[in-house]
């Protein structure tokens, strides 16, 4: 029981990383990238290819993948989404829907429809003894990295010029432009970061479980649920939202493996009905 809960918390800390990327673009541009999940899957495949080519550990190739995904996100905003901004909420959805379709099919062509996973190497069996509990080293590192990323995000938002610009733009993009903030650059940086942060999660996810070309849709839903559960605009709320989703799914999986996503969805729906602004909204 305790193990299942802990497992839910570790997976949840990854959902939180999926979610923080989505929360950034949703809060800033009021738009959802329908290809968010597919881009996460793409980073997992990129890491897989990189480890195959170099023989290095997934965590070693991670910086390269993360930087690469940053530029893909940046380019997505600059080349495509920017062209339709100001035309309402529909156009970005339509564009990213097309992108999702292209990515899924392209990944199927390149990597087949079979599931894949990343080899965690020595981290796979490694474990530590904490009191009566034996815990895997990988889940602990996963959780630590997630907390670290959230702490960094919170620090950046509260204390840097970039963070202040993002918050100003999220509040009122037009006024922010008048104040001399280059909102276009803020938007593309945010989109880049959104994908880059999720790429970190993708690599940890790939070392623990499997992924395939078509799981992106589900991952996008989990990211969305995480954001709404926590409450849009609250960084640590998103973290908590991820943990709640992870634990709900773990509990659902106890009943029957295929119950895992269902219980997660139901918890989301209940929170939406009872507290539409999320559990930790400011």
């Amino acid at each position: 029981m305790v193990e299942i809960l802990l497992n839910g918390i570790f997976i949840g800390s990854l959902y939180a990383l999926f979610g923080i990327g989505l929360a950034l673009t949703l809060g800033l541009m009021r738009q959802i990238n329908l290809a968010h999940g597919d881009l996460i899957v793409l980073s997992a495949y990129a890491a897989l290819e990189a480890t195959r080519l170099t023989g290095l550990h997934p965590l070693i190739v991670m910086p390269v993948v993360v930087v690469g995904m940053y530029f893909i996100g940046w380019a997505l905003q600059r080349v495509l989404i920017e062209r339709v901004m100001g035309r309402g909420e529909t156009s970005p959805l339509l564009i990213t829907f097309g992108l999702s379709m292209v990515l899924q099919s392209a990944m199927q062509l390149a990597f087949t429809a079979d599931t894949a996973s990343l080899d965690p190497g020595f981290l796979g069996p490694a474990s530590v003894q904490i009191g009566p509990l034996t815990m895997g080293l990988l889940p602990i590192i996963t959780f630590g990295v997630s907390v670290g990323v959230f702490a960094l995000t919170a620090a950046v938002f509260n204390a840097t010029n970039f963070g202040r610009s993002v918050r100003a733009t999220a509040d009122d993009a037009r006024t922010a432009t008048l104040m001399g903030i280059d909102t276009k650059s803020i938007f593309s940086t945010a989109m880049g970061l959104s994908i880059a942060v999720s790429a970190v999660a993708a690599i940890f996810f790939g070392m623990r479980g499997t992924f395939g070309p078509f799981v992106g849709g589900n991952w996008m839903l989990y990211a969305f649920e995480t954001v709404i559960l926590g409450g849009l605009g609250s960084i640590w709320g998103t973290f908590a939202g991820g943990l709640i989703l992870g634990v709900s799914q773990a509990l659902g999986g106890m009943i029957q493996p295929s119950f895992a996503p269902l219980l997660g969805h139901i918890v989301f729906l209940v929170v939406l009905l009872v507290r539409p602004r999320g559990l930790f909204a400011k």
Binding site: I32, I95, M101, L221, F224, I228, F259, H265, L269, L272
Partner: protein, 328 residues
């Protein structure tokens, strides 16, 4: 003056609908059975695209989880027909009732969200329904159910009757949209599309408009889904609640032009033509149509119908209204 143009609009729409109906009525006599099955699918998918377009293009309800109505329509039809042992064609209204009730049931959750969030929220709801059906043994669980009651219908009658059902659903959908869009509610819907806050300020009850459109749209969508599954003869949670339904509809609406009535018609014709032409292309086909969807959204916001409309200034199903002359 205004009422005259409104009447002219309606007359023109009705002429177009009669021509379309005549063409659809002649089709079964001149077409081989294979073409008939494609045409049945075409009618069902076109009806779905037309409904989705009104929801997303006018009422601000961009539903990524639209497939929920299709699956529920199919399941309601199959279960009631099998249970009652009735010729399934008579039960399309029951499927529609199921879709309408579903719309009422999901509205409280859905309407807590808006815009992009509503889009994804509806997808979560569709997933919940899919997973619940998947775990319900009475509904055949993961394997789904077959329309065994179809045995009581003679084999030679099945295809023509299914065709009739699909055409009927399409015609009712088209008629409902033409009448709605030419009524004062249509005007309110277009006002909502252009500026929701302004529409509300001018006395449009946005909440009830949205609710009404969702219930009517949901009912019609479930009927269209049921008509499709009359052809398929079996339904499973994976097929009935597949996101691919919404993906197809989205593609059709993007291609034709979101927020016009003719757009989805043109989009559906092109989609089916592309699909039949590129049937051997496999995965590359999806890459091609995904790219096409991106290109059209970026460079042709009005879709292909918008392009046609620029070259030929003539609406087939006009919903525009001429503003009354300004008094000076």
């Amino acid at each position: 003056m205004t009422s005259m143009t409104a009447n002219m609009n309606l007359v023109r729409s009705i002429i177009f609908l009669c021509v379309a109906l005549a063409a659809l009525a002649i089709a079964p006599f001149v077409m081989p059975a294979k073409a008939m099955t494609i045409l049945i699918e075409f009618c069902a998918v076109l009806a779905l695209a037309l409904i989705w377009n009104v929801l997303a293009g006018f009422a601000g309800l961009f539903l990524m989880g639209f497939q929920v109505f299709i699956g529920v329509g199919g399941y309601v039809l199959f279960v009631t027909a099998n249970q009652m042992g009735v010729v399934p064609f008579y039960l399309l209204p029951v499927a529609a009732l199921g879709g309408g009730l579903l719309a009422v049931a999901i509205a409280p959750a859905l309407f807590r969200l808006s815009g992009a969030q509503l889009a994804i929220g509806s997808w979560v709801i569709a997933e919940i329904v899919r997973l619940v059906v998947y775990h319900t043994d009475a509904l055949g669980a993961g394997g789904g159910i077959s329309l065994i009651v179809m045995r009581i219908v003679p084999r030679v009658d099945r295809l023509p009757l299914t065709y009739g059902a699909a055409v009927l659903v399409l015609v009712i959908t088209l008629l409902a949209i033409v009448l709605l869009m030419n009524s004062k509610y249509g005007l309110a819907l277009r006002a909502m599309r252009d500026n929701e806050v302004a529409a509300e300020a001018l006395g449009v009850n946005v909440f009830w408009m949205r609710m009404a459109v969702l219930v009517i749209g949901g009912a019609l969508a479930s009927a269209a889904g049921a008509a499709y599954y009359l052809l398929a003869l079996n339904i499973s949670p994976t097929s009935g609640f597949s996101i691919n339904w919404t993906a197809t509809i989205l593609f059709i609406v993007i291609l034709g032009g979101i927020g016009t009535v003719e757009g989805p018609i043109l989009g559906a014709i092109i989609y089916f033509a592309l699909r039949e032409l590129l049937i051997d292309a496999g995965t590359a086909y999806f890459i091609a149509i995904g790219t096409l969807a991106i290109m059209v959204t970026v460079f042709l916001p009005g879709g292909l119908w918008g392009l046609v409309r620029r070259l030929v200034p003539f609406d087939l199903l006009p919903i525009r209204k001429v503003a009354p002359a300004r008094r000076t």
